[in-house]
Symmetry: C2
Subunit: 302 residues, 2 copies
């Protein structure tokens, strides 16, 4: 199970009910954030969630609307006496940006572990997820992230009993470890069924459409894409500012065979996104627009 | 007339209903801010106020809870195509901090004019106010600000008529200029009464009590002081973290002969400040605790 919460859904300029970019992803009691726009720490508090379980922060790029909340977030963690390391991931320039922002958040009580990612595709792991970072097209270094939660093959008690594996050793096999029973080595594959599909989430904001979104997001349970501009008439602005229209994001979701699309990073010019939603749904019916604090729970398929 | 609005009243850590430090001061259609904590730009929007009339930003010190909103504020002004310069004032280190924060707010459309103030007392002017910066005691360079709006002496039409000054020249005399009437030079003092008291506002957060607060704030129309801790039992924390108790702030207001005290920069541990207010009012009855978006209008005395 994976819980995904759009903490902030405003694009570029915040509104009272739309904080700047941040997505919260929770798996097994641990949490990572993608981006940390101004207001992120307050959005977490509104949900009654602490910062303690946040293990990692993935930054897409280094504009204030995506990382302006970082120094305040770090300072608040320090005031809460955090000791556990925080892992930061982002495109080239990460160290320079974090060191600059820490000028106003000095003397942290916990270590920052910086992982500067290349601008091509790269893979890493955090909070039990297999993550692929991939380049976007925003006129500056900018990354999207595809997060996969794998699922262990189904455990077959009948096969375990047939091999005379004591019940107390089952959990080791379920966890993917081999066990020894009366001198025989039993591997997990001997007591489990065929591989099962996990959960996939793809996140990409601040970009023109790129092929990697549809490719990496193939069959995704959820795509969270930017919907900076609703109206098709805004294409010239979208091209100029390297953003997407609702319809363009929906076309990527349709191409990928994703199950569901959430549009976020809405321009402050969009008071109410409802009138533009049909433009996206005409291309990909399972489209919704995100709101601050909206949570989607993604479950393994039955 | 001077309008003062506590945009953000949270100390150190924000709460959903308490943004981080920022005070908005408006005089004659122009505006200055003192501090720009995370959330400042949203607080301005909530009030329906734009950024265009903000001429100056005075920073007290360089902790994220006091200047974390700066990069987002600058970026939003740029997205609104601001062209007018923005004047920034702050203690030593201003250039280093602003340059660091601008790493995530590059390519501004308007000039930043930096005024690095000394750590002693200094005077400067902004939006028609005479401002005194003065050092506080926060264990790091930190300034308080005393803002004075002077009032022109009353114009006496009878004296102007007696001197045969044509009515069309009166506005020059009212503005403090000399005029010439049939070869005679008439000075403002010849047609105005005695000096009149103006309006004074003193702002000091993040400090232990210092004598300059009571001295410079003598007879102030409004003091806005930190009330980081409500309960007297918190004195050890106040001493350790260089902050004040409600009672200590009230004692400074009483000593200064100020008319009114507003306590801001409330600790996130104070859910409701009401139970602690009597501690301050016992010392200085005209004490209130600030809330986000609270506006106080200060008028010239009749």
């Amino acid at each position: 199970m994976m819980d995904v919460c759009t903490l902030g859904t405003g694009g570029a300029i915040p509104l009272p009910e739309r904080a700047l970019s941040s997505l919260d992803v929770r798996v097994g009691g641990r949490c990572l954030l993608i981006d940390c726009g101004e207001g992120t720490q307050v959005q977490l508090r509104k949900l009654g969630w602490g910062f303690k379980c946040v293990d990692a922060l993935l930054l897409t790029h280094y504009h204030a609307d995506h990382c302006g909340g970082l120094p305040g977030f770090l300072l608040s963690m320090t005031k809460a006496d955090r000791l556990e390391p925080l892992h930061l991931y982002g495109p080239p320039g990460l160290r320079r940006v974090v060191e600059a922002l820490c000028v106003i958040a000095p003397a942290l009580t916990f270590p920052l572990v910086l992982h500067e990612l290349p601008l091509g595709e790269s893979r890493f792991g955090a909070i039990g997820l297999d993550i692929t970072a991939f380049p976007l097209n925003h006129g500056m270094p900018c990354l999207g992230y595809c997060l996969s939660l794998s699922r262990a093959p189904e455990f077959d008690p009948a096969r375990a009993r047939a091999l005379e594996v004591p019940v107390k050793l089952w959990r080791h096999l379920q966890a993917g470890e081999t066990v020894e029973v009366s001198g025989r080595v039993i591997a997990p594959a001997q007591v489990t069924g065929s591989p099962r599909r996990g959960i996939r989430l793809l996140y990409a904001t601040d970009t023109r459409p790129v092929e990697a979104i549809a490719r990496l997001g193939a069959g995704a349970d959820l795509m969270v894409l930017e919907g900076m501009y609703g109206d098709d008439d805004k294409l010239p602005q979208a091209l100029k500012n390297h953003h997407m229209l609702f319809r363009e994001a929906a076309a990527l979701a349709a191409e990928s065979g994703a199950k569901r699309l959430l549009l976020t990073h809405l321009s402050n010019c969009i008071d109410d996104p409802a009138p533009y939603l049909p433009l996206a749904r005409a291309v990909f019916p399972e489209t919704e627009t995100a709101q601050d604090g909206m949570t989607v729970t993604l479950r393994y398929p039955d």
